[in-house]
């Protein structure tokens, strides 16, 4: 089982909490927009991405499980 990260950019307000938790996956750049550094992070990032999902103030992040 691997997973994909999906961001709803209509909801995202670039609070950057996710960047603090999982800097290898999420990056808010100088234009103040959020960029995904990878859409399919390694499995060892799952816990951090899950915490990002939980702590996103806009509930804009989701995890989608994918078949290997």
């Amino acid at each position: 089982m691997s997973f994909k990260v999906v961001v709803d950019y209509d909801l995202c307000e670039s609070n950057a909490i996710c960047m603090q938790i999982a800097p290898d996956v999420f990056e808010v750049r100088d234009d103040d927009f959020l960029y995904l550094l990878t859409e399919a992070p390694d499995e060892d990032q799952r816990v951090k991405v899950q915490e990002s999902v939980q702590r996103c103030p806009k509930q804009a992040i989701a995890i989608v499980d994918t078949e290997d």
């Binding site: 307000e13 670039s14 609070n15 950057a16 909490i17 960047m19 603090q20 808010v28 750049r29 100088d30 103040d32 939980q54 702590r55 103030p57 509930q59």
Partner: protein, 395 residues
């Protein structure tokens, strides 16, 4: 542990039950709440719900099927009314007594009010409050008076201005937001509101709300009157601890916990109701922020299941507030700061990051539309970086 009651069914309570399950607890799990609604998100209440941008269906914190998967025994709309810390018995308003081995206290806080209930006078804390204020906005009030220029009041004022309503906001302090941001930054935010057409009156309080069945005016402490048919009172909250009277728990400015969030054997507390010594700042605090409700609930749930090895809870508190097109974020504590510096952007453009120091260490960062910088400096606060090194950092 075979059975746990989580008392309080808002953000902290929900994250607590989720954590208990994800950490492997498979016993009976009760979720008790005074509201009938399943857990919902409060930040949109003062913004998207008041403005009408969001349908109410968007504020649930968890989808119904995910909520069902937690396999909870829910007691919603049935508030806890008493507790015995010796036997861990939780008594509900209906008379039901929950006999459990562990308790998470997450009863949050309720709004402070002024005087007796009166038509046209509201506070904002719950979904029902927000829907009532939304209806009052739609009815076309002559003027909206907001009492208290804290963050809730300021967001209500911004939402009302966004709908084209006339707004007067009054604040006892000479400088709004002084307690959280300091006087200088509070003044910047005050100007933002004035630029958006809010009639902001500082250094004056509400002496009386006048009206028979419905508010007609308010009298200020300087003797002047403001005619109005809609008043929103935003003067802070009171932790919900009355049900714990006689419980044997230590209650001060909330439920007193140790550094690990433990209030008594088998009892933890989290969110707005919990007071604990935060070792990072050497300060006993009670934090009323959204993010703290999550992180403290996760910590408290683990503490209950796994014991002392979970360690102390030492977060850098963080909050945000959206007002007009400004995103204001503060991480850390400004209490007693002795150094201050704008480190990015400038006040004129209202896009900037500023840091606060105390005793040679960075203790807080404030951003106006600078989320990336706030998070970078938050990491420096977390690492207890020296003031000199924080000033030298470049992001």
């Amino acid at each position: 542990m075979k059975s746990i009651a989580v008392v309080g069914a808002s953000l902290a309570g929900l994250r607590a039950v989720e954590t208990l399950r994800s950490e492997g607890f498979d016993g009976d799990l009760h979720l008790v709440g005074d509201e009938v609604h399943r857990p919902y998100d409060r930040p949109p209440l003062s913004k998207q719900i008041l403005s009408g941008d969001w349908d109410v269906e968007r504020i649930w914190l968890t989808a119904e099927e995910k909520f069902d998967e937690l396999d909870l025994k829910t007691n919603l709309g049935d508030a806890a009314v008493s507790f015995d810390a010796a036997t861990l018995a939780v008594t509900l308003a209906s008379g039901l007594v929950l006999d459990v081995d562990g308790v998470v206290i997450a009863t949050g806080a309720r709004t402070r009010t002024i005087g007796e209930p009166l038509g046209g006078v509201y506070t904002l804390r719950t979904l029902d409050d927000a829907q009532a204020i939304r209806a009052a906005f739609q009815a076309g009030p002559s003027r909206v008076v907001v009492i208290g220029a804290g963050f809730i009041g300021a967001e209500v004022a911004a939402s009302a201005r966004g709908l084209g309503l006339d707004v007067t906001m009054i604040e006892m302090a000479e400088s709004p937001f002084e307690r959280s941001l300091g006087a200088e930054m509070g003044a910047v935010l005050a100007e933002v509101h004035r630029d958006h057409g809010v009639d902001l009156r500082l250094g004056v309080g509400c002496a009386a709300i006048v009206g028979e069945e419905h508010v007609e005016s308010i009298r200020l402490t300087d003797g002047s009157m403001i005619e109005t048919d809609l008043v929103i009172v935003g003067i802070g909250v009171i932790p919900n601890v009355e049900w714990l009277e006689g419980s044997g728990l230590n209650i001060e400015n909330g439920v007193v916990c140790d550094a690990t969030s433990l209030a008594a054997p088998g009892v933890v507390a989290a969110g707005d109701v919990a007071e604990w010594p935060n070792g990072h700042f050497g300060e006993t605090m009670r934090v009323e922020h959204w993010d703290n409700a999550i992180t403290q609930a996760v910590h408290a749930a683990k503490r209950l299941l796994h014991g002392e090895s979970v360690g102390p809870y030492e977060p850098v508190p963080w909050f945000w507030s959206d007002q007009y097109d400004r995103k204001i974020q503060l991480a850390g504590r400004t209490t007693g700061f002795d150094s201050f510096e704008i480190v990015n952007g400038d006040i004129e453009s209202r896009k900037f990051a500023a840091i606060y120091g105390r005793n040679g260490t960075i203790v807080a960062v404030l951003g106006f539309n600078r989320p990336r910088h706030v998070m970078r400096y938050r990491q420096l606060i977390d690492a207890k970086t020296s003031w000199a090194d924080a000033l030298a950092a470049e992001f």
